[in-house]
Symmetry: C2
Subunit: 420 residues, 2 copies
């Protein structure tokens, strides 16, 4: 039996979940793994406020140094969230030779290189299964059982809030703003929902998982990012008529000489495995040259599922004699600023002869050919709704073609990429 | 860099897949992990027959001792299939301190205790990710990232042949025998399909994964097993009318004081995540007290996906300083011979007054209440088809009630369990 001494930075939802899991299930974990977990200290803002958990007074502290500088503490678990002071505290813990376990995708994504370098220098471990997909063991899978693969593609539903909103918009034909308000009322979206609905959260996660899957650093600032705020009930309804389901995806592709890394709404065929991953569920679809297609699906958030991943990491950190660092190429592949996709284009056009010819002519001029076209009868304003699904085309060509359209004749209302 | 010397027992489909993966991707694996893989010897029946692979003469051998007794070989990969001589060879390798990697669910399930004991004695490792679910990292997940969970339920589609047959029966309304013949013609079912269609293969896999998930040894002889040979197109069609999809599932449940372990056809609600796992895909659905619901889906067979899991295991065996053995209770929980489920019961009954009352009376007498009943008009023989879906009932009670029915009045044609 081996006792491992832990310090928790934060005792909010996730920290409290870890506290509960260790208290209630620590004995069983010890039987299974030979590792006895002891939480020595937990950093809180106020020792009087700790989420109603019955935590002994001597465990609580408001001084980070009681954790970061205590030589007895071997593993530091960071639950503060946000970039700072989380990143600096993790860096200090690693510097002091303590392994770090975190669920903080923002601090990790933004400071990945320094944290990795420090861990490498001191031989401490850096574990972050919970940072992408919550309880889903995606970080472990791509680093260990799936290591003998050239992972060509990764497509994930990695943000529960946006998946919940899109699922309800789809089921109810409701508009984004209305569902968002309801989700906020239910505590399923933050009062300031920007990080989720604008795709920042998904982009951090893609930056982390993509770096590992493609063994090439994907910085978050190079991830193309577009949220769900422009999606309308009309888009979803038209897509559905054409057999598509709308999801916010984090997409990574290894094209050999470049990496695609993009977060944006996507129309998926209704029979795609990701299409029926609804509500607050998360899922990651992978394609590897050897394992072929795979999908891992589960709870991407919540106290208990996140604590499940955290304690799994703690046990790994405790059991590993050496802490393996993921291999990343020294010359990272560039992140592509253009890519090929199919496109759903919704526009309002003047209902007049020659308009369709002009629109399709502009698309054709950029090498974009149409696979499906749908026209919905003219509205009272004399404008008709046109929906195009294109064949595979270049992103840049599509943007150029749409920019060149005369707004007097047609107004592009939304463009949504289609993956198959 | 660390060179690891491998011996392969067998160079057929899976062995050949590993040969190819190591040859083509070994350099990349070395970069990623620091482990250089060298295949020193491969055991074949005839050095002239090795699946068309270009294997140097000095690698091929027909003498198992060239592998099992060579002190330079550190890891033995077993691809012989079947119980013997595979089990004895694995035991000998472990005895000689060599770690063993295998995909052989039969030999592993039947000899799990001796192999584990020998590995524990000599400190060698025993790795078998590929034995359940092929490339899907289920063995790794339940042993490592999900370790801090009481896994309450595991339901898997773990046999590709039967899933292929059921998927085609469902899509085409075809009968079992016809689809089986076609699957045999296409090489998707064995000339003797017993191991797959009678559920033996799935039972071996459940015995292995269940032992690990519930930390209590589940012997294959205690797994209730029923194959798909009695399933008719009519069952599938009636089930579909009621919103169900038919799958052959391996089900494990931890009831606290006993384990359920059973392989049989199951009707699942059409919106269950396993219901749309079609063709030769495999998937395992898990429920853990902390991670909640999760599903892992991918390729359960095939040379390349299996090789993916094998090489993942080899790397783990090479990197682990100590080889952790899964914890199993010393006093295994009993495997339940009764359980609760809903039931789909199809019977042919005399189309006469009082018959329905008698049938429902017999069911009611055993405490079985009906949730849905469907009667299909009398056939030319004056018999009507009755379909019942029961509420949750005890397996034994259902079997007793059905046994007590008067065959003059009604004949039970099939009973299929319904899980939700």
């Amino acid at each position: 039996m081996k006792e491992v001494v832990l310090g928790l930075l934060g005792l909010g939802n996730i920290g409290g979940g870890v506290w509960d899991l260790v208290r209630e299930f620590g004995g069983e974990v010890e039987k299974r793994t030979g590792v006895k977990l002891r939480i020595k200290k937990a950093l809180v803002l106020d020792v009087k406020i700790h989420g109603g958990k019955e935590v002994p007074d001597e465990v609580l502290t408001t001084d980070k140094n009681d954790i970061l500088e205590d030589p007895e503490i071997q593993i530091v678990c960071e639950f503060l969230g946000g970039e700072q002071p989380a990143a600096s505290m993790m860096l200090r813990a690693l510097e002091n030779g303590k392994s770090v376990v975190t669920a903080n995708k923002m601090a990790l994504s933004l400071h990945f290189d320094e944290l990795r370098a420090m861990a490498g220098k001191t031989g401490a471990g850096l574990y972050y299964e919970a940072s992408v997909g919550g309880a889903i063991p995606i970080i472990n899978a791509i680093q260990s059982p799936l290591i003998a693969n050239h992972i060509e593609q990764m497509m994930g539903i990695v943000n529960g809030t946006t998946n919940y909103i899109l699922t309800r918009m789809t089921a109810e034909g409701a508009e984004y703003e209305d569902v968002l308000k309801d989700a906020q009322r239910l505590g399923l979206a933050e009062p300031d929902p920007t990080a989720d609905v604008e795709g920042y959260d998904a982009a951090y996660k893609l930056s982390i998982a993509g770096s590992l899957a493609f063994h090439s650093r994907v910085k978050v600032e190079n991830v193309y990012r577009e949220g769900i705020t422009k999606v309308s009930a009309e888009d979803i309804a038209f897509g559905r008529e054409m057999g598509y389901v709308l999801k916010l995806l984090a997409i990574g592709k290894d094209n050999g000489d470049s990496i695609e890394a993009r977060v944006h709404p996507v129309f998926l065929p209704a029979d795609h495995p990701l299409a029926r991953v609804d509500g607050s569920l998360n899922a990651v679809y992978l394609y590897g040259h050897s394992f072929k297609d795979m999908m891992l699906e589960g709870r991407g958030a919540g106290d208990a599922p996140t604590a499940s991943a955290i304690v799994g990491d703690i046990i790994q950190a405790a059991q590993n004699a050496a802490h393996p660092m993921p291999y990343l190429r020294e010359d990272p592949l560039p992140v592509a600023d253009d890519w090929h996709s199919k496109y759903f284009i919704r526009m309002k056009a003047k209902d007049a002869p020659g308009v369709l010819a002009e629109v399709t002519g502009l698309l054709g001029g950029e090498g974009i050919s149409i696979s499906t076209m749908m026209q919905k009868g003219a509205a009272p304003d004399g404008k008709a709704t046109l929906i195009f699904i294109t064949h595979e085309a270049s992103e840049k060509a599509v943007q150029r073609a749409l920019k060149s359209m005369n707004p007097e004749i047609c107004v592009v209302e939304n463009v949504i990429r289609v993956e198959e």
